[in-house]
Structures are given as C-alpha cells and as structure tokens.
C-alpha cells in the first residue's frame, strides 16, 4: 500500500533548492509479476480453449428453466436454513449460559451431537425419518385429542434439507453467539440488574441487542457458506441448483459443462451475498464493537485503529486514481 504511494513533489533543500526524484524500477517485482501472469493465462487457456468443453452447451443451459428453478430453490433453502440456524443458535447460546445446569447440559449435548456428526449423515437421516417414525403425532397426553401426519409427506426433501442444514448451523452458530454475549461488557449487566431488571430482562433488553451487533458480520459468512453447503442436498434430491444440474448431466453426460453452469451461479450468488455482507459490516462491524466496550483504553485503541484504517484507505484510493491516470 505504502510502496505504491509514490512521492512526486521535489525534495526541498535548506537553501531553497528543489531536487526532483527519479522513480526506481522494481525489477524483481516485474519478473515475479510476469511469471504469475503467464501461469494464470496458461491455466485459463487450458480450460477456456479445451476442445472437450462444449461452451455453447454451457450457455444453452445457463438460463434454462430447470437451472433457474434450482437457483430459486437454492436461495430459498439458504435463507430459511440460515434463519432456522441463527434463531436456534441464539436459543442454544442463552441456554448454555443459563444458570440452570440442565439447560447447560442439553445445549452442550446438542452442540456436541450436531458438530460431531457429518451434515451429510444428518441430511440422509432426516430424509429417512419415516423408518424411525412412520407417523408424526401431536397429542394431548391421556386423551384422544391430537393430530397425526404421514412422515413421508411432511419430510419432503426440502424439509429434510432445511432441518439438516438449519439444525447443523445452529450448533456452530451457538458458539458464535455465546462469544458475542460474553464480549458485552459485564458493567452492562450490572447496570441493568441494579436498575431492577430480572436476569431474563437483562439478557433480552440489554445484552442480546448488543451481542447481536457483534455477531452480525460472522452471520454474513455463515450465509455465504450456506449457499454452497446446500449443494449437499443432492443426496436427498432437493431440486436445488446442484440437484437439477446433476439430473441433467446424468441424462446427457455433459458433466463438466453443467458443473460450470452451477459454479457460475454459485459464484454470482456468493458475489451478491458478499456485497451485502460488506454493507452490513460497514454498518455494524467495528462501530458496534466500539459501542459495547467500556470507555478507556479499548475505546481509544479502536478509535485510533479506525482512523489509521481510513487513512490507509484514502491513501489506497489516491494511489488507485494515480495509476488509472
């Protein structure tokens, strides 16, 4: 960054003389840069001009209805599974920090189980829940009042995907939320308790709103990761992007072409999600961390860090402008 910020103004001597600066050619950088470009171009041409890839078929399928349907399902599945994962993750984190040891153990057990088993196994398990419980029954105990569903009808591949991905994310996210809650200054809790709030109110009104600001940036990562994890749903035929692409290539054997189609869509979705994530981070990121920390050293440190960051950013944008000119 600083290396590209090149001084152009001449150097002033004590007698008022101005001596210009002759720029230095960084020969080593040029050699390494050229080699790197050659390698990248070689790899790219090896793929782009590969005669075994029928690019026209890639473009045929890129906007085909089945692929587009798959994209829509993938987006929905990612959003819903993330929502399930985040909400349940918050509940688990609060349980893990609860005073009641039973709640702590249940949360710890849940997290251990869902982090300890592969998500692929979980997906297949949910999809085949009917082997375990042919009917799902909600019934008031000791009466005949209740409702019953056929498990195979409830547990569609979409539902299995949501449960498998959502419950799994919850286990991971609980740890993030717990860290966020613990990062909120202890003084906030004390002030709330001193103000007459119960522990539940303190958590709900004072601590969680601040903890959530801290954990918003990681949620963006979780969502981006979820976009691609949905491709695992292929094992339960979830009619998402990957499932539809694979069903097409199983018929016409254009495996690589359809993988490229799917990859292009995943990359587009990721790019869009990344854009929103960076907006979220700018809105909540460092500012929120500064907000929840007590004043004093940490606050000053973060504020200085922020100033330094904006300073380097402005230098970077200046040098970018300079190079485009």
């Amino acid at each position: 960054m600083t290396a590209s910020h090149r001084r152009t103004a001449p150097i002033l001597g004590a007698d008022g003389s101005e001596t210009p600066i002759t720029p230095r050619w960084h020969l080593g950088r040029w050699i390494v840069g050229t080699l790197a470009v050659l390698v990248v171009v070689w790899l790219a041409t090896a793929i782009i001009f590969n005669e075994n890839i029928r690019w026209n078929r890639v473009f045929d399928y890129l906007f085909s209805p089945r692929i587009l349907d798959g994209v829509v399902v993938t987006i929905w599945m990612s959003v819903l599974a993330t929502v399930i994962g985040l909400s349940l993750g918050v509940v688990l984190a609060v349980m893990k920090l609860a005073k009641n040891p039973v709640l702590q153990w249940i949360a710890a057990g849940y997290i251990w189980f869902f982090r300890g088993t592969p998500v692929l196994v979980q997906l297949i398990f949910w999809y085949n829940l009917a082997f375990l419980f042919p009917y799902l029954t909600l019934q008031v105990p000791f009466t005949q009042i209740g409702v019953q569903w056929d498990t195979n009808q409830v547990m569609t591949s979409f539902m299995a995907a949501l449960l498998g991905l959502g419950l799994n994310l919850a286990a991971y996210f609980a740890e993030t939320v717990r860290a966020g809650i613990q990062a909120v200054d202890r003084g906030q809790t004390e002030a709330a308790l001193a103000g007459g709030m119960t522990h539940m109110q303190t958590m709900r009104i004072i601590v969680l709103p601040q903890a959530l600001r801290i954990i918003i940036p990681p949620t963006g990562n979780e969502f981006i990761s979820m976009l691609k994890t949905t491709s695992l749903v292929v094992v339960v035929a979830g009619s998402d992007l990957m499932t539809n692409a694979s069903q097409i290539y199983k018929q016409n054997n254009l495996i690589i072409e359809l993988l490229i189609v799917a990859s292009l869509w995943y990359m587009l979705l990721t790019a869009v999600a990344t854009y929103f994530q960076s907006k979220l981070e700018r809105r909540f990121g460092s500012d929120a961390v500064r907000l929840v920390r007590g004043p004093g050293f940490v606050q000053k440190f973060l504020r200085n860090g922020q100033q330094a960051q904006t300073a380097t950013e402005s230098i970077a944008t200046n040098s970018e402008k300079a190079t485009t000119r």
Partner: protein, 254 residues
C-alpha cells in the same frame, strides 16, 4: 432517632480464600449522606455492592429498610429470594458506577427510560417525558438523543445519575463516581450529587473526593483490610483521626 435505612452487622465476604469483608458494622439513617474512603482493595466497593445485592454476603447480617437483603423470614428460618425478589428490591435503590455503564446501544433518554418502561411498567410516552425531566435536572436535556460514546465522561455520569433517579429510589449508591473522569469533568458530577444531597436523598458514596466528603457528608467511614476502622462526622475523622493507618492514608490524599 429514626431507624437506620441500611444496617450492616459484622458482615463478612470472601472471594475464594481472599477475605474481602472482615466484620463490617455500618449504619445509614434516612436523609443521611454517608461517605466511605479507604485504600483500593480495602473492600469498600464490595461492601457497597452488597447493599443492593450485586454481591452476596457470606456472614453477619445486612438489612435495608428493615428487611434482610436476599432473604425473607418464613417462620423459624430465612428463605433465599427468587430472581424477581432481587429485581423488585434493586428497583428501589439507585446505583451509579465508576465506569458509568450506560447502555451502549441506547441513547441518553432511552437509557433513563428503559427501567421505567420494563420495570416500573410505565407507558412509553410517559416514560419518555419522565426521562426528559430527569435529563433536564442534570442539565442534559439537549443531549437526549446522543449515544453514550458521543458524550463526555462527565455527561455520561450525569445521565447515569438521571437514570438512577428516574426510578424514585429511597437510597442512592455511588461507587467511585468521579474516579474515571478527567479532572476538569469531576466538578459537574459532584455538583449534581450535592444538589441531590441537599434535596434530602439518602446516599452512600464510595469516593476519593475528600473535599466532597467534608462538605456534603454527614458521616465518614474509613475502610481498611475489610473493616471500618474509623467512623464519625467528617470534620472530626479528617482532623483528628485516632488510628495511625487512617492518618497515613489521609496524609497521602489530602
């Protein structure tokens, strides 16, 4: 003489093997301002936090307004309070912290109004009005919509005082309220506290501001190694302290 509002009888408290309070006897009567001084680590802040049950007491007895803190007498024995008993008890006691502890995600008015809405069950408009009145009383009505980090330390501490007062407390606890402030901001906070004392509020103030203790305090207690080793009217404690330990401390801070 009226009954004391706070009465501590041989209060003890340990953190692990560290005995922080070692038999504290202490009394505050309604309307009194009681200042507590002493070296850091002498247990004065811990004792203050015991009064509103932010810390629990291990031994002895601690009564506020005639009731044992943390326990209710049921027949022959005391039963520990539930969470909501603690909340109800603390709602009647205002506390001001060394590090202000304003709610970082709320603006000044919301900081004051939060307990009114969620604890006193006031409706939002009324709570907001009440919050503005309290902010006006500490001279910060213009800063109602600012977040804590946009306020100076002195302003934050005055908002914290307004937040505590909004709940109409019968007792105010101050835990070194000016220790985290830049020197030129100390005065504005002490002024707010003086006004409160003149209004007849019962106050327990842990402080290093000897001048405030002398001017406003009705009693001054000197804490050392978990006990009060000197107590009485500020003028007499400050001028002719009997224990050499108190005199050594006063020589340093005066």
């Amino acid at each position: 003489m009226t009954d004391p509002l706070v009465r501590a009888i041989a209060v003890t408290k340990s953190f692990g093997h560290n005995k922080v309070l070692n038999g504290v006897d202490f009394e505050v009567r309604p309307g009194e301002v009681s200042c507590i001084i002493g070296p850091s680590g002498s247990g004065k802040s811990t004792f203050l936090r015991c009064i509103n049950a932010l810390e629990t007491v291990d031994g002895g007895g601690l009564e506020v307004a005639g009731a044992q803190v943390g326990y209710t007498l049921e027949g022959e024995s005391y039963r520990p309070w539930r969470d909501r008993d603690f909340a109800k008890f603390r709602a009647g006691i205002g506390m001001v912290f060394q590090r202000f502890n304003l709610y970082a995600h709320l603006d000044a008015a919301e900081n004051v109004a939060t307990s009114l809405i969620n604890v006193a069950r006031m409706d939002k408009a009324a709570a907001r009005r009440r919050a503005m009145e309290e902010l006006d009383r500490v001279g910060l009505a213009d800063h109602a919509t600012k977040r804590p980090h946009q306020l100076s330390g002195g302003q934050q501490q005055r908002v914290a005082i307004a937040r505590a007062l909004a709940m109409d407390p019968t007792l105010m606890l101050f835990d070194e309220p000016t220790s985290a402030l830049d020197p030129e901001l100390v005065e504005e906070v002490l002024e707010s506290m003086k006004a409160l004392a003149l209004g007849g509020m019962t106050m327990v103030v842990v402080t290093h501001e000897i001048g405030f203790a002398r001017e406003v305090g009705d009693t001054l207690s000197f804490f050392d190694a978990g006990t009060i080793i000197e107590s009485g009217p500020p003028a007499s404690v400050l001028s002719d302290a009997s224990s050499p330990r108190t005199r050594a401390f006063l020589d340093k801070v005066l």
